[in-house]
């Protein structure tokens, strides 16, 4: 008689809201990362320095500069040194904590902020496990939390606490905050921006381009609630903006198509512009499993 072994739970592939009901950010992030890493063979991140791993016999065509002269001198045999890319880098996670991030289309889903926090925590955990110095900046109108990138023990806990200590949005994400961010990121590294990008695209791109110009590798996670992608609601409704006095009366059923086109056009514009400037752009919705969101980076 055979007993079927239980299928291991892959948190990274579950519905984000369901996963979030299992515990706090740490538990979710750890679960997600465990599941995520078990499916990978290599680090998803490429570093800047190299590290020796092994020797192998020289073969014609190998670069002479990689010959190990010491072995040649001692044993009179030709060996070349092999290196592996190092995963030790400086990563800074930028999490948008503006008021618009504290919204969800239905109570069953995570708010965009909650999704961003958990995604950031998972990313941080992965990076720190690779011995990459990781920091965190949360911002809305101003920079709310700024935790420098470190690799020491307890850094992940500080990052998680930094996320938890940042209140839900009090204002709108502003270009001023983005400019302030650039001044915080002095050394080159990896910058991951997690935001709903509901601010002026040109100003935001100016800041991101500046980071890129400073030599940072920039990744943008564009987080949206599914209800922001597909418009719904009562037959007629006044939608009030969360970050400004603006409001608009619409009939969702008759505007849904035009709205969907507008959103898709906006996403395409972000994607095109980011690609033009060497910025990795990923659009995620809050119902996308965290593992799938992380996998976008590989």
């Amino acid at each position: 008689m055979t007993v079927a072994s239980p299928v291991p739970q892959r948190f990274d592939l579950l519905d984000p809201a369901e996963v979030s009901r299992l515990g706090g950010i740490e538990i979710v992030a750890e679960g997600v990362v465990e599941g995520f890493l078990s499916g990978l063979h290599r680090s998803p991140f490429r570093g800047f320095s190299v590290e020796f791993t092994e020797h192998r016999p020289y073969q014609p065509g190998d670069e002479p500069r990689y010959l190990d002269w010491k072995i040649l001198a001692r044993a009179d045999r030709l060996f070349v040194k092999q290196f592996e890319q190092e995963t030790n880098l400086r990563a800074m996670l930028l999490v948008d904590a503006s008021r618009s991030m504290a919204w969800r289309g239905t109570p069953e889903r995570l708010t965009k902020r909650a999704y961003a926090d958990r995604l950031a925590a998972a990313l941080a955990l992965i990076l720190l496990r690779q011995r990459d110095a990781t920091g965190l900046v949360t911002f809305d109108e101003v920079v709310r939390q700024a935790i420098p990138a470190r690799v020491k023990t307890g850094q992940w806990g500080r990052l998680v606490r930094g996320l938890l200590d940042t209140p839900d949005g009090r204002g709108t994400a502003a270009a001023a905050a983005l400019r302030r961010l650039t001044s915080l990121l002095v050394r080159r590294g990896l910058v991951v921006l997690i935001s709903d990008l509901l601010f002026d695209r040109d100003l935001a791109l100016t800041a991101l381009r500046y980071l890129r110009h400073r030599g940072h590798q920039v990744i943008v996670y564009h987080v949206m609630d599914p209800a922001e992608v597909e418009l719904g609601g009562p037959p007629e409704v006044r939608f009030r903006d969360l970050e400004s006095p603006a409001s608009v009366v619409v009939r969702p059923r008759e505007l849904a198509r035009a709205y969907g086109e507008t959103v898709r056009r906006e996403i395409a514009a972000w994607r095109t512009t980011c690609r033009r400037h060497g910025i990795a752009y990923h659009h995620v919705t809050t119902d996308l499993p965290f593992g799938m969101a992380l996998r976008l980076l590989t």
Binding site: D196, P234, E236, F239, V248, E254, A258, Y259, V263
Partner: protein, 562 residues
Amino acid sequence: MSFLHPLALAGLAAAAIPALLHLLERRVPPELPFPAVRYLADAERRSARRLRLRHLLLLVLRTALIVAIVLAAARPLLPSRATGGSLHPPTALVVILDNSPSAGVVVDGRPLFDRLKAVAHAALARAGAGDRLWLVLADGVARAGTREALLAAVDSARPDARRLALVDVVDRAARLVEAEPVPAREVHVVSDLQRTALEGAVSVPRGVRVLAIAPADAAPPNRGIGTLTLSDGGLAIGVTGTPGTPPAPLTVQVRGRPVARALGAPGTTVTVALPASPPGWWVGEVGLEADELRADDARPFVWRVAPPARVSAATDAGPFLTAAIGVLRDAGRLATGHDVVFGERPGPGPSVVLPPADPALLGQVNRALATRGVAWRYAEPGTAGPLAAPGGSLPAAIAGVEVTRRYRLVGTDSAAVLATVNGEPWLVRAGGVVLLGSRLDTAWTALPATPGFVPFVDALANRTARGEAALREVEGAPRVDFTTDGSDTVGATVSRIDPNESDLTPAAPALVRRTLGAELARDADFASAAFAGPRLADVSGLLLLAALLLAAAELGVATFTR
């Protein structure tokens, strides 16, 4: 354009519903937070023109849809030149079907009334759902009803004993339809159009069309019993009918036994003697040989033979009156008794009161009359003049007899006056009391010296003072009905048809046109000549089709223009 159901047009108010909903719905939309308002604003800005056009299109389509449905429900009628346009505009129609006795005549082996019914049926059968219909028969009652109900009434109609007052009925029918708020108004006269029925003229209101069946060219021969007049021992029979009809034998029966035979032609009067009869009520019938119209071939009559009145005369009644009573007693016309009292004072029963010879007693007489409850009294002396008897039971011989002395009779009931002098009451009957303005003496009037005096006293005693049996004649199927008071027969009612019904001479077409203001149509053409308004086509089907197309268009716009 006209409508079969114009009240349904009130539903057009519903056409405002889409606009009202549009406005009301926009008043207080719920407010929800939404982060991507900038995308919404952008989408709305991009599609504002399309949405405005869509809203306008939907509003127009929905309003048009409601209008089309309401109009279809109102059944609009449009003038149609095509032969398919078989409807007429809503019409107020009165069909006058003459089922008076004359309609029962048989012409060419077929009852005339069957032909009239067929014509009326054909005209009514063409009525539509939007028509207002009435049927008038000989009773003059306008029966409103649906086409089916009135067709059933026509089919079940039979010749009636009553005469149709044609001119009056047409006049009332014209006014009835005139008051109806419909585009067309017609009065159909389906009658044999007797010449005798067309007296007077109808003032046909503007907009009302009177259509009459054309009168016959020839008059059917007919004889009928017209008037019957009973006098002492004789019966005068007025024979009526279509002029020119040959005479025919008639038979008089009393209590079922033939008592006389004669030959009568229309327009003549035949007098036959009746056998002496003992006191009591006697019923007889005058019958004619059967002809084309049976309804007027027999007519009943009734008379009462009363026993001699028992009279007494007071000593102040005067010698002439006493002598006349004595003569009448000898002849068996009166008896001695106190049924009727002659004198200067009213008795407890029927009385004939003479003015007192002494003017000083006039006040006592008036008080006695007042005590008896008589509303008449003697007043000052009146002027001399000749007697005039308006008619009734008094002998005609008294008319013109000079009255030289009299008292004026003052009262209020002019119907009580039986004879006058110089236009003033001279002989009145109030209740059971007869008042004379003069004493029956040659010093007061020449009447006692005339041959009519004894018959006058006979009439006063036997008929005037005692009162005559109540005999009435009414229109109806020939028969006699007695009125009883306990075990006594106190009156009789003789039902008979109107003598004018016997003259079947049709009116000339010109007379019909002039009197009724009517257009004439032959039987075969009558139905097609009815409802002369323009032919209309019901376009409700097209409107329903349009409504379906509008609904489909609305669905398409609502679904595919989001």
